[in-house]
């Protein structure tokens, strides 16, 4: 066991306060969705241009480049920003400052290029329903720039300089073979331009650091010098590199970096060992660097949370948990932050004391830790062709998504609402929001004389929505590389460098991600039709249709009967669980073995992100008793309050599905009352729950431990709960940032927790 508390200061109050105000001022209003528009403070003007001047410069440059290939335009604009942005090396921080971080190239790149690509896709499909699907909350289809994980192995062993050299070597080899294509030439030239700009930027930072005489300057200078010359040499160098790459990729090049390291513990560990052995840095110093590093992500205000993962298992069966895994958790615990968020790759052989440490943090109120089942990750990825070794070493990124290291990139991110097709059965395919025919006519619902007909109609509607939306996605994905070349990222990937081919241009596997939202509520709705109309005969489909059309007004008794149905998902009820499996497999069957327009995998994720609220808002009343506009169930979780048989029954329901079928991830969210897990025995209980969930084939699981009384108090006294965060769906938000309505919904959920 590692020490839980530190006998030295990880970060001074002054420095912490500085970093908390580095990206935006804490005393000013803040909109997390616009987070990159803010600056915490003004940088030294002599170090570069203001944002306004940069934007004017970009306008001018973009005009000149107008006819050039998108690779050229993007790489030139990228370089312009890195050459001209203001920088800082601050006395309160070990990490550099980059002033222009609002993805200002978008105006000249993604924004127009995406519009153009979407128009082309819509035209190619002809009468595409994509926009109406999106407006109506039926399905969303989007190209994906939000889920990359660079090859941290290459970055940690080569550094920016080594990446550039590897690119040059590859170019020389291909060129000398005489078989180089124009596209390869272009890729090389533009990726090279970006890395040259990045190295120049690092040199500029280094030079600026030499002008500083504060206590941290020397150490920062040394680190930047290493990065200017080659590979990182120390833990601190590596942290600095991760931070620079993150900021430049996410905030300049517009590719979100969705994990920090191949396990932050795994990537840092060789450096850590070397630092300690060679006495470059002490454990105390390294702890401080990690604390300052964490604080960056805490302060940035990224509302969906910046993830990194810990733990895992090596292909030889040994655990990847190391001394740093414990230390990182300790630092995180000590800092008392909720962003970044942590995924823990876990299996039955993960050291118990490590899992216990994480569980104790959760019981203590940390809501930013999620466990991801390695066994399911391996099964899911191997089905798609991954070898055992690759699947074992897979990355957890974003909320709970799995991906192969340096071998795949997401190209589209699409979300389907499982409830809307059921509504179309009642409406004859007409949508309540747009008034348009977005489904198909599956017959007059009032004439269905058995449940089978209703169920078949539902599947037919769902099938139609999936296929219609897929047509558009198929076309749009063809343009991903035109819309947003991934040069900075691709150069870190050995396969892309070897082929001189961009990652989302087929350099590696190009994955389409299909998310299923509202599964639990869809099952409840189907079961309510089964139970009320066909099993008990207490209503007719016509009466139910009238009730839904009137948002249950005038049908309160029927609504209570619907809410009181015995068959609900999340109770371990066999019938409901079979239908959950059926919908889960039905959805997956549209993608298993199918290829996207890049000839690669289409993956399925049982995950809702914010769709459970947003798509729910556009979903009319449903037979389970839900009102028009209410949220739907999220992830693999049941409808709020319907899991009335306790946590074990809930886990039975969830694991009745083969969760390796959702090959991109699936998560169960559990709220647990503090009394359930109090004391040492409470940790044992939670450990038992976790282990059973894993052995029954659960995928990811996220525990929240709190009660409704605390939340009500927080609502009444926001000042006393400035730091309280709650998990929305895959990420945390500050309680005080939720609207009253959202807070009420959360309290309602907490009130339904069974002790």
């Amino acid at each position: 066991m590692q020490e839980r508390f530190f006998n030295y200061e990880l970060i001074s109050d002054t420095d912490r306060s500085f970093i908390e105000n580095k990206y935006h001022r804490q005393d000013m209003p803040f909109d997390a969705k616009q987070r990159m528009k803010y600056h915490g403070y003004d940088y030294d003007e002599s170090t570069g241009l203001s944002d306004g001047e940069i934007m004017l410069g970009l306008d001018e440059l973009a005009k000149k480049l107008d006819v050039e290939h998108h690779y050229t335009i993007k790489s030139e604009l990228f370089s312009y920003i890195l050459d001209n942005t203001r920088i800082d090396i601050n006395e309160h921080d070990y990490f550099i400052g980059i002033y222009t971080w609002d993805r200002v190239i978008d105006k000249h790149t993604i924004d127009p290029w995406q519009k153009e690509a979407y128009a082309k896709a819509t035209l190619a499909v002809g009468n595409s329903k994509r926009n109406d699907f999106a407006k109506s909350g039926t399905a969303w289809a989007l190209l994906d720039f939000d889920h990359t994980v660079p090859d941290w192995e290459s970055l940690s062993t080569l550094g920016f300089v080594g990446i550039l050299e590897r690119l040059e070597n590859s170019y020389t080899a291909i060129k000398s073979s005489g078989a180089i294509t124009e596209k390869q030439e272009l890729f090389y030239k533009c990726a090279k331009r970006e890395y040259e700009a990045l190295i120049k930027f690092t040199k500029r930072l280094y030079a600026y650091s030499l002008t500083k005489s504060h206590a941290k300057a020397a150490i920062v200078s040394e680190s930047l010098k290493h990065l200017c010359e080659g590979a990182p040499q120390t833990t601190y160098d590596m942290l600095q590199l991760i931070y620079i790459y993150f900021m430049v990729s996410e905030s300049v090049e517009h590719y979100q970096v969705r994990s920090l390291g191949y396990g932050l513990d795994g990537t840092l560990y060789p450096f850590y060992k070397s630092d300690i052995e060679n006495r470059r840095f002490s454990k105390e110093e390294i702890s401080r660097f990690i604390a300052y590093f964490m604080m960056q992500f805490s302060a940035m205000g990224n509302y969906w949370g910046q993830p990194f993962y810990l733990g895992g298992t090596n292909p030889d069966g040994s655990t990847a948990v190391n001394e740093l895994s414990y230390l990182i958790l300790d630092i995180y615990d000590k800092l008392g932050i909720y962003n970044p968020k942590i995924q823990i790759k876990v299996c039955k052989s993960t050291p118990k004391d490590f899992v216990f440490k994480a569980l104790k943090m959760i019981i203590g109120g940390s809501t930013s830790i999620v466990f991801c089942n390695e066994d399911i990750i391996v099964k899911a990825l191997m089905r798609n062709g991954a070898t055992y070794d690759d699947a074992t070493l897979a990355v957890v990124k974003g909320c709970y998504e799995y991906a192969l290291r340096a071998k795949s990139i997401g190209i589209s991110f699409n979300t389907f609402n499982a409830l809307k097709p059921l509504c179309f059965v009642f409406s004859g395919g007409y949508d309540n929001v747009t008034g348009k025919l977005l489904g198909i006519h599956t017959g007059d619902v009032s004439e269905f004389d058995n449940f089978e007909k209703f169920y078949h109609a539902y599947l037919a509607q769902f099938d139609y929505v999936i296929n219609e939306n897929m047509k558009w996605i198929y076309e749009a994905e063809k343009y991903i590389n035109d819309v947003n070349p991934s040069l900075l990222y691709a150069a870190t990937i050995p396969a892309c460098t070897e082929q001189l081919r961009d990652a989302n241009d087929g350099g590696i596997i190009n994955v389409s991600d299909m998310l299923l939202n509202g599964l639990g509520t869809a099952v409840d709705a189907l079961m309510a039709v089964y139970e009320l109309v066909f099993e008990k005969g207490v209503t007719t489909l016509q009466e139910l249709k009238n009730a839904l059309d009137n948002n249950w007004e005038g049908f309160e008794k029927l609504r209570l009967r619907a809410l009181g149905c015995k068959h609900k998902y999340g109770r371990g009820d066999k019938l409901s669980d079979y239908y959950a499996c059926a919908i889960h497999n039905f959805f997956a069957s549209h993608f298993i073995g199918k290829k996207n327009s890049h000839g690669d995998n289409i993956e399925y994720e049982l995950h809702s992100a914010l769709a459970f609220l947003k798509q729910g808002k556009n979903t009319p009343a449903t037979p389970d008793g839900r009102y028009n506009g209410d949220e739907v169930s999220k992830n693999a979780s049941p409808t709020i309050g319907m899991d009335t048989n306790g946590l074990t029954a809930l886990i039975r329901s969830v694991t009745s599905m083969d969760l390796s079928v959702s090959d991109s991830g699936a998560c169960l969210d559990c709220m647990i009352h503090p009394s359930t897990v109090q004391g040492e025995e409470g940790t044992d209980i939670l450990y038992g729950v976790l282990n059973t969930y894993l052995s029954l084939g659960g995928a990811s699981i996220h525990f929240n431990v709190f009660n409704s009384e605390m939340l009500k108090d927080a609502q009444a006294n926001p000042d006393r709960y400035k730091n309280l965060q709650v998990r929305v769906c895959g990420w945390n938000v500050l309680w005080n940032n939720l609207s009253k309505q959202e807070q009420d919904a959360y309290i309602l959920r907490a009130e339904k927790i069974i002790e």
Binding site: T648, T676, Y687, V689, I754
Partner: protein
């Protein structure tokens, strides 16, 4: 085939013995503790609890009631308990969740599949099945049959008992019980009689008997200020003589059960004063200092 009368089955029970458990609450208890928080477990006969504040006056109960115990007058529900035969039909039709049936008859065959649902959780957490109540050993024959089956299937078993049962009843379950969760409410007989309506002579004898057999015993002491709070030291002294106590728990009295008394139309005997944290801490310290 033996039948039992039960009130509830609770899955994911984490306070009824070690690990994750499923607890069966049997109906009927020979004691009448003033602080009882499961008053639905006192009588063996079936009962209907009516939570008036949840009633929406929908009239569904009146529609199914065979004895007109439920009627709706001028849009307002009225429940005539005298006329109620506790058949339970109303509880199934109740839309507001205002009516609850206590006293379901069940068999071992019916119970077993439900108790095995969480077997995986028992195994991973060191949990199992707990028989509780009421006083489960009022239905000792049934308990013995159920416990025997559970043991045959390798399930860890716990019996939560007040101890006020015959030695012969205890003997029936001893071979199939891994741990007894044993309530000790008072050492002095007069205090026990005042608080529970019965002497504790049999209870203490049974406790010594179980200990003499080497059975694992987890002691549970409800701490009720002004009722049994002066008994802690004496109880601890008694326990210090025993050899097979696995744990001693002090259970702070709470009065959450008030609405149940009202719903069951039973006179509410719950004491008013709740224990303070300091009192509980002091009781725990006293017990530790004497038994360690």
């Amino acid at each position: 085939m033996k039948k039992a009368v039960i009130n509830d089955i609770k899955r994911f029970a984490v306070h009824d013995g070690d690990g994750i458990r499923t607890t069966v609450f049997f109906k009927g208890c020979p004691l009448k503790c003033l602080w009882c928080h499961n008053p639905e477990g006192i009588t063996v006969k079936p009962e209907i609890a009516y939570y008036e504040h949840k009633c929406i006056d929908c009239g569904e109960c009146a529609y199914v009631c065979p004895t007109r115990a439920h009627i709706v007058k001028c849009g307002k529900h009225d429940f005539d308990r005298e006329a109620c035969i506790a058949c339970g039909r109303c509880t199934e039709s109740c839309l507001g969740g205002a009516l609850t049936f206590y006293g379901k008859e069940t068999t071992v065959e019916e119970l077993l599949p439900q108790l095995l649902e969480d077997r995986d959780f028992y195994e991973s957490s060191g949990g199992g099945v707990t028989l509780s109540g009421g006083e489960c050993l009022v239905q000792a024959d049934f308990c013995a049959e159920l416990l025997k089956e559970l043991k045959r299937l390798g399930i860890h078993t716990a019996v939560d008992t007040c101890g006020f049962i015959s030695k012969s009843a205890l003997d029936k379950v001893i071979p199939y019980t891994d741990v007894f969760l044993y309530d000790v409410k008072a050492y002095d007989e007069d205090v026990h009689i005042r608080c529970t309506g019965q002497s504790n002579k049999i209870i203490l004898e049974n406790l010594l008997y179980l200990d003499s057999l080497g059975k694992n015993i987890e002691i549970r002491i409800p701490y009720v200020p002004e009722y049994n709070s002066d008994q802690i030291e004496k109880i601890a002294l008694l326990l210090s003589e025993l050899k097979h106590i696995t744990k001693i728990r002090v259970l702070p009295y709470h009065n959450y059960a008030g609405s149940k008394y009202e719903a069951l139309n039973i006179p509410n005997t719950l004491p008013n004063r709740l224990p303070t944290d300091a009192e509980i801490k002091s009781a725990v310290e006293t017990i530790k200092s004497i038994t360690n």
